[in-house]
């Protein structure tokens, strides 16, 4: 709605302590005006606290919050041009839908709210429910009321705290598209907190992955997925296979790694660990980048591809693809997703196979970190 460029949300060195517990470590973050920004992380990672500090519901222990040029760090929530869609919505149970949506306008002394509220009810397709009480609506409808109640105030930033968490899967997918549509339509900056990586990736332009009170990595969904810089990000967003390897040599733009008996190549640009000879590196590759060839046909694999041999330990057919778990000497549970285009009937558990992939799809991470970071959290969510 507004076109001035000074509408960025800037957090500088913002932090939050509860007694001796640090919920958010000093954090610098800029959310560009008009973007759909997601804070992604497991529960307790500090993402909601960060959001609440932007809303003014939580006072930061240190640092500042700027909205454009305005320092809002000490402003109470009712003076900030920011609105929140709360987890489980927090609709006013004693007011009907119309009054819920009109609440913010009335508090700012706007008398003729009818037209604006009706427009907003149309935007969220709830026109015929205006005089119902919140408890008479379904979860999805309540969620839309919560969005409408916040959006009607034309906030500089709309904060969404796990807004889809209480909905079932199908409705959640539907609401993701709906929210994305609304955001494109109104052009307001959205900051969305979620623990659902798929949700963050489908909706957001920029995702900040948070872990233990810190931003682990920030980037576009595809950038985070293709170039994770930590094992946490690699595991939290999708699935990754890791091979513990050692740097053998560096040649031009490539790093050659030694793993088990074989060699793997990796573009130096995609290696976030120091590539000194003898240094330990975790070589990662996503399951869908890997091709699976029966050991008998291994000769037909083009040269120059990274290859690893192993034996299929398990497979599950899920329609569009088949997911294999391959037991290999360098990695005990190598996951491979194969599109079901031309299925090779010999690829059954027990079969000896060769895994191979384009070296460009390999990424290298510092071996000093926990290989399984981020796995547990995602399973729990």
């Amino acid at each position: 709605m507004t076109n001035d460029t000074g509408g960025d949300v800037r957090l500088s060195g913002i932090s939050k302590h509860y007694g001796s517990f640090t919920a958010v470590h000093p954090l610098d973050l800029t959310v560009p005006q008009g973007s759909f920004f997601a804070l992604l992380g497991a529960s307790g990672c500090g993402k909601t606290t960060t959001l609440r500090m932007i809303a003014g519901l939580e006072e930061p222990s240190g640092g500042t919050v700027h909205l454009g040029e305005q320092d809002v760090t000490v402003l109470p929530p009712y003076k900030r041009p920011v609105n929140t869609v709360f987890q489980s919505y927090a609709l006013f149970p004693h007011l009907d839908i119309f009054e819920n949506i009109a609440f913010g306008l009335r508090r700012r002394g706007i008398k003729s709210v009818k037209k604006q509220v009706d427009d907003m009810l149309d935007l969220v397709q709830l026109g015929e429910h205006a005089r119902k009480k919140p408890h008479q609506l379904s979860g999805g409808q309540q969620q839309r009321v919560a969005v409408a109640r916040a959006l009607i105030n034309h906030p500089r930033v709309l904060l969404l705290d796990e807004p889809l968490g209480a909905l079932d899967l199908k409705l959640r997918r539907q609401m993701q598209l709906e929210l994305k549509r609304i955001q494109t339509e109104v052009g307001i900056t959205f900051v969305h907190v979620t623990h659902d990586q798929e949700e963050a990736m489908t909706m957001a332009d920029t995702v900040a992955v948070m872990n233990a009170g810190r931003v682990e990595q920030l980037g576009s969904p595809s950038d985070l997925y293709e170039n994770p810089r930590t094992t946490f990000v690699a595991n939290f967003l999708g699935t990754s296979n890791f091979i513990a390897a050692e740097v053998d040599s560096t040649s031009g733009d490539d790093v050659v790694l030694k793993a088990g008996g074989g060699k793997l190549t990796l573009p130096a640009a995609r290696c976030s660990a120091p590539a000194t000879t003898g240094g330990k590196v975790l070589a990662g590759v996503r399951p869908e980048k890997i091709s699976l060839t029966h050991a008998d046909d291994a000769g037909g694999i083009p040269a120059g591809r990274n290859r690893i041999s192993g034996r299929i330990a398990g497979s599950s057919f899920i329609g569009v693809s088949t997911q294999y778990v391959v037991d290999s000497p360098v990695c005990p549970e190598f996951e491979v997703y194969a599109q079901n285009v031309d299925r090779d009937e010999r690829l059954v558990p027990g079969a000896d196979v060769v895994l191979h992939w384009n070296p460009a799809h390999t990424f290298g991470l510092d071996a000093a970190q926990d290989i399984d970071a981020g796995i547990q959290e995602e399973a729990a969510s």
Binding site: A55, G56, L57, P76, P77, Y78, K79, V82, N83, T84, F86, S88, A90, L91, F92, P93, H94, F103, G104, R107, R108, R149, A150, N153
Partner: protein, 309 residues
Amino acid sequence: MSTLTEAPPPLAPTEPARKPPRRRGRLVPYWLLLPGILWLIVFFALPMIYQASTSVQTGSLEEGYQVTWRFATYWDALSGYYPQFLRSVLYAGSATILCLVLGYPLAYLIAFRAGRWRNLIMILVIAPFFTSFLIRTLAWKTILADGGPVVGVLNTLHVLDVTSWLGMTQGDRVLATPLAVVTGLTYNFLPFMVLPLYTSLERIDPRLHEAANDLYARPVTTFRKVTFPLSMPGVVSGTLLTFIPAAGDYVNADLLGSTDTRMVGNVIQTQFLRVLDYPTAAALSFILMAAILVMVTLYIRRSGTEDLV
């Protein structure tokens, strides 16, 4: 389809076995209700009928009472004792308002601000119940005694000048004045106000406060537009639990008041136990009951909380 045709056999044997417990289960709630219903019949319905019949009897203690359907007793009772009726409503109403004014902040504090002190404060609210109602009321006699510290302080602050002007006290005395009776009623019924208020405040999701704050409502507006309306069930039940028993109370007026502060409860007590005019006493009881019923109905209608209670 094949799963459907296979399914019935394992279910069939359990079908007849499940029916009898279901039928018994349907009657269980009624059996459980029985003791309560019996209790209500014996201790509520029968005495009511007995009182109703007493109220339309005539006669004397020596000759015995007979049902003569003399409804004039009601008119006589009302015209003879309307000052006491009015006083009951006035005192109970004042005490209810005072209880609300004192109890609301207290309940609010316990519900939202007390943190780990919550249970302790709750115990302190209920603690007076461990002492007898009579003893507690008698204690106020000492507290409000002539020349005592409370009277002294009120005198120094010129509070008594104001209350005298309002007709609630006389001269340097607090005891045996309307103020003493209202104070006693307020004290004795405060927990009945605080507990329902606390219950309804405590049920309010604190995120609603945050949501209101987020939607440009200042703390005072948040209270006016969100907290207070949502606590209305507690306000209504608290005021009813205070007003109804206070209107029928006679102990406070008896111990802390004087002959000028007699409430309808005192009249009923005297008629029943001293004058032994049972028909008048019974008629007074029914008038009081009807009056309270009418007032409560009007009140609930006005506060518009039918769908909140």
